[in-house]
Amino acid sequence: MYDFNYHKPGSLADAASAIAGAEDGKLVAGGMTLIPTMKQRLAAPSDVVDLGGIGDLVGITVGGGTVTIGAMTTHGAVAASADVKGAIPALAELADNIGDPQVRNRGTIGGSIANNDPAADYPAALVALGATVVTNKRELSAEDFFTGLFDTALDEDEIISSIKFPVPEKAAYVKFANPASRYAMVGVFVAKGSDGVRVAVTGAGDDGVFRVTEMESALAGNFSPDAVSGISVSPDGLNSDIHASAEYRAHLISVMAKRAVAAAG
């Protein structure tokens, strides 16, 4: 790890000015990606702005058909939250299967989506549930937020404060884990809400999370596993690596979608 300046602001405004004032600054939330990358000398920020001192960014509230999760809320807290379990059990279960206990107790929802790792779980949940990302500057729909591989619509000095999830009628997430890393090799989040059915896929696309509209239309008319079992996904645009070819990933999307619909009930 190279030397860097460390900042631990107490407010979102101070954090924004610290990152704006840094030559090549990085925000750190749980640090589950940034810290290992820095230790391997693959990242060398001049300044690290730690969001861990901003109490306002932590917490879960439910009301008006919406679950609001502070950006610095850990996966462990989401998984354990009675509110989340009651309103969107699929989201609590997703959080409960991210990484291992150490990661879940350090990693945060804001850090995860800001990094937009194509194999992360949360992006599928945000897109399928039609979530809204709230920052210190604006509100963005999940689909506008995720712009590509490790890329988001966030400005350099823009900081996520919370994520708002509309409570769906039913939802489920099923992932096929990479055998080695246990990240999602294919993760499918299916949600049926007031404005229809959404099917979002993580882990498979070479441009990050994406929706499978053909499955969404089929499920809108008939929300049952059979509705998606005949729908195959094209391998074009899917990742191919030593663990899974694009064809295998395409196949797994159909299988996981079917299982997610069954799990959503």
């Binding site: 190279y2 055998p179 080695a180 030593i242 070819s245 299988v255």
Partner: protein, 787 residues
């Protein structure tokens, strides 16, 4: 049976130290004035080094010294076993410099060492070293390597290290030509990365006052390192070179070998005048710890109409990597081809083995070393032959087993098995695996849309390595005996100095049980000392499941000398004839009288010899013994694995694992079970999960846990393990060895189970590791073929 003697499940005496984080590993040791080394490694698989400019790095903060190959002109890292080609000529043995001399041959090859006040400073300075490389084409695939063109070593034609054979090819071909049935398979034994929990580390220092070098290192055999590094690489005499291998966190073979970093820190220590520590990070472990396996093989098994084996023919290509690691050359020859009879009476066997250089990390012994490769191909081809001929899997094995009354049994491939009962382990495994209930379980799986399969493996291995006369005649440049020193302290406690090395095996417990049993002492009166060449007289170390069968026998021999000497002392004190002294339960008695001395009283007398007769009785009570085994030992057994395959995803769930092993006499059943569990986990890891993959440029694609799949607890079911015992016929304890059986026996059982599960679809083969993608592709391929 005593509660602390042979056969008792004593909890490991090491547990408190290890489970509470109180072990002392090499990296835990810090010496006054210590500096830190960072090794600059090649990013290329194959390149010429045109120049190295260290000037900017040398001026960086904290840098103490920088050395390159031009500075370090020392001996080559040696290979310990010379193999001869078919024509009698010796193998190609290119040099292996600790720091590259003008050329790098695999990603991770050592180019320079930066020594600095801190590791971070050393690492930062290393980034300032400018190395001008001319990249060369890399050769990774063994078949391409054999075709020549790109040469890893300019003077090794076609990258062929040796072309070796065992057996009469003409006779085997004749038997195959006349056979009723021949089963042929092409088999890949996948390359594995060892992944010991503790990365390798080394601290070199030099004492100018005494002229003594000291190396702390993560080794399974410190005396062997002293010999190899002292005599061959650095020319330091043994009496001026101390090697300490303190607590070591796992080895699995990868810490047998003498590595460049050990020589580098030892060589550089007097040059910088301060101790130098080097510790691998995990990424370095992936690219520099010797890898395991990596064979491609064609096997033919000839059978008569009843299913009796007539002949076996094997042609194997074995990857050596870029350089010859210490014992690399004996793995695909004498630890492999000599096991090709397996547990069967196959009358004629031929093995041809080509060892090949490639631009990859060196390959050497890894848990099982040669024997897993042998058992895998035998059990795969037997399974296939049974399917082709419609013979039940247990029946084809029983029909060909070496019968229990046929021992000692001379195989056609050089070894003489001393004991075994393969029917007994097959029967107990079938019972424990509830083979009778398999059909019902298969039907239940099918009702859920899953495919269930059951696979057998009946195996034998050769361990207790090894009789020096035998291995010497086969090219080993070392004897493979072991030493033990038993020191009885004046108040009756005992310290054993053993040349075996414990790095997770629980020796401190098992060996203490031998002492407790033999000398009648409680365990807290026994200390097992190992790992320091200044304490232990000599040792060949721990590998090849040899510690109990060879090291333990040396201890028994030394303890018997202690008992003999004690009887002399007791006879003198009790004024009786030596022949009348009996030793039992820690007491020396005069036969037929009530005169007795405890072991402790004898010990005290030995060191307070106020009236010893000068000419017939020496003071003191300490004995040394060397033990050289008469033969290898031959553990064997039966593993039965049951899997459930999800045809929608290709995921294989290992549902049942049953191991019935004959490891000879069991000293500590709990430790034996633990060793079996670990071996099974590694065997299942090889079969389902672990696969080392290089791209065509020689870059390691599986260089971290993001891509290299280690077995985890949730990949494994509860294991059923049990032991059937036939005693080793040529050692006093009757012990055989358990360190490797799990990894040797289980991989073919897993793969045979998957093939069984998929056989209804027409799948006949699946290669290791049987990843979900591979299984799914096999199912798709079979479905397409059926259409």
């Amino acid at each position: 049976m005593s509660e602390t003697g042979i056969g008792a499940s004593v909890k490991r005496l090491e547990d408190y130290r290890f489970l509470t984080g109180r072990g002392t590993y090499t990296d835990d040791i810090n010496q006054p004035g210590q500096t830190h080394a960072y090794i600059l490694r090649s990013p290329h698989a194959h390149a010429t080094i045109n120049s190295i400019d260290t000037s900017a790095a040398a001026a960086a903060p904290g840098v103490v010294a920088i050395f390159t190959g031009a500075d370090m002109e020392v001996g080559s890292l040696p290979c310990g076993w010379q193999i001869h080609n078919k024509d009698g000529s010796p193998m190609a043995e290119p040099g292996h410099p600790p720091l590259a001399q003008g050329k790098v041959r695999h990603v991770g090859d050592q180019v320079a060492v930066v020594i600095a006040e801190t590791l971070a400073q050393a690492r930062s300075a290393a980034e300032l070293i400018e190395v001008d490389y001319s990249e060369l084409p890399a050769v990774v695939d063994m078949n391409k390597a054999l075709a020549g063109g790109t040469l890893v070593h300019d003077d090794v034609a076609d990258n062929l290290c040796y072309d070796w054979e065992l057996g009469d090819e003409g006779e085997v071909d004749k038997a195959i030509a006349g056979a009723h049935h021949v089963t042929e398979i092409d088999i890949v034994n996948n390359r594995l990365i060892p992944n010991a929990m503790e990365p390798r580390a080394a601290i070199g220092s030099f004492d100018r006052a005494t002229g003594e070098y000291t190396l702390y290192t993560t080794s399974q055999n410190p005396h062997v390192i002293r010999l190899l590094m002292g005599a061959f690489v650095l020319q330091i005499p043994e009496h001026k070179l101390r090697i300490v291998a303190p607590d070591v966190g796992g080895g699995f073979g990868s810490k047998i070998y003498h590595y460049a970093e050990e020589a580098i820190v030892t060589w550089a220590a007097p040059k910088v005048g301060r101790p130098i520590k080097w510790t691998a990070d995990r990424s370095e472990s992936f690219i520099t710890d010797a890898h395991g396996r990596d064979h491609i093989t064609n096997v033919k098994l000839a059978l008569d109409e009843s299913g009796k084996f007539l002949a076996l023919k094997v042609n194997t290509k074995a990857n050596m990597g870029a350089y010859l690691s210490t014992f690399a050359t004996c793995v695909p020859t004498y630890l492999y081809a000599t096991l090709l009879a397996g547990v069967y009476t196959t009358p004629v066997i031929y093995a041809g083995v080509k060892a090949i250089f490639t631009n990859t990390t060196p390959v050497d012994a890894y848990r099982g070393a040669g024997r897993p490769e042998a058992s895998y191909l035998i059990e795969r081809v037997v399974d296939r032959a049974a399917r082709e001929m419609g013979i039940p899997q247990d029946e084809i094995r029983r029909k060909n087993f070496i019968p229990r009354d046929a021992f000692p049994y001379q195989t056609p491939v050089a070894l003489e098995y001393d004991s075994g009962d393969y029917e007994a382990t097959l029967n107990s495994a079938m019972k424990n695996a509830d083979v009778d209930g398999f059909a019902a379980r298969k039907a239940a799986s099918e009702a859920k849309g899953k495919l269930r399969g059951l696979g057998y493996s009946t195996y034998v291995e050769a361990c207790g390595i090894a009789p020096s006369a035998v291995v010497g005649s086969l090219g080993a440049r070392a004897g493979l005996f072991e030493s033990a020193n038993v020191r009885v302290n004046p108040t009756g406690s005992v310290t054993i100095f053993t040349g075996s090395h414990s790095h997770g095996q629980g020796h401190e417990t098992t060996f203490a049980q031998l002492v407790s049993e033999t000398l009648g002492l409680p365990l807290d009166q026994v200390e097992i000392s190992h790992g320091d060449t200044n304490k232990v007289a000599f040792g060949m170390g721990t590998y090849g499941s040899r510690s109990l069968a060879v090291g333990g026998e040396a201890m028994m021999k030394a303890m018997n000398k202690i008992i003999d000497k004690s009887k002399k002392i007791a006879a003198h004190v009790l004024e009786a004839a030596e022949a009348d002294i009996e030793f039992k339960d820690g007491k020396f008695t005069v036969a037929g009288t009530d005169k007795e001395m405890t072991f402790g009283e004898v010990a005290l007398t030995a060191y307070v010899p106020h009236n010893f007769p000068h000419d017939t009785l020496e003071p003191g009570l300490e004995e040394q013994a060397f033990y050289d085994p008469m033969n290898f030992t031959y553990p064997g057994g039966c593993h039965i694995v049951e899997v459930e395959v999800d045809p929608d995803t290709g995921v294989v769930k290992v549902d049942r694992v049953t191991a019935s092993d004959d490891v000879g006499r069991v000293i500590n059943p709990m430790i034996v079970a633990g060793q079996t569990h670990g071996g099974l986990a590694q065997g299942i890891g090889q079969a389902l999960l672990e696969g080392c993959i290089y791209d065509d440029n020689g870059q390691l694609l599986t260089g971290s846990y993001m891509d290299y799949t280690m077995p985890r607890a949730d990949d494994l079911p509860n294991f059923s393990t049990s032991n059937e015992v036939t005693l080793c016929a040529h050692n006093s304890l009757g012990v055989k060895g358990v360190g490797e059986t799990g990894a040797i026996g289980s991989p073919p059982a897993v793969i045979n189970a998957i093939v069984d599960a998929l056989s209804g679809l027409g799948v006949t083969d699946i290669s290791m590791p049987a990843t979900p993608q591979k299984v799914w592709q096999a199912i798709q391929g079979a479905k397409a073929a059926a259409e």
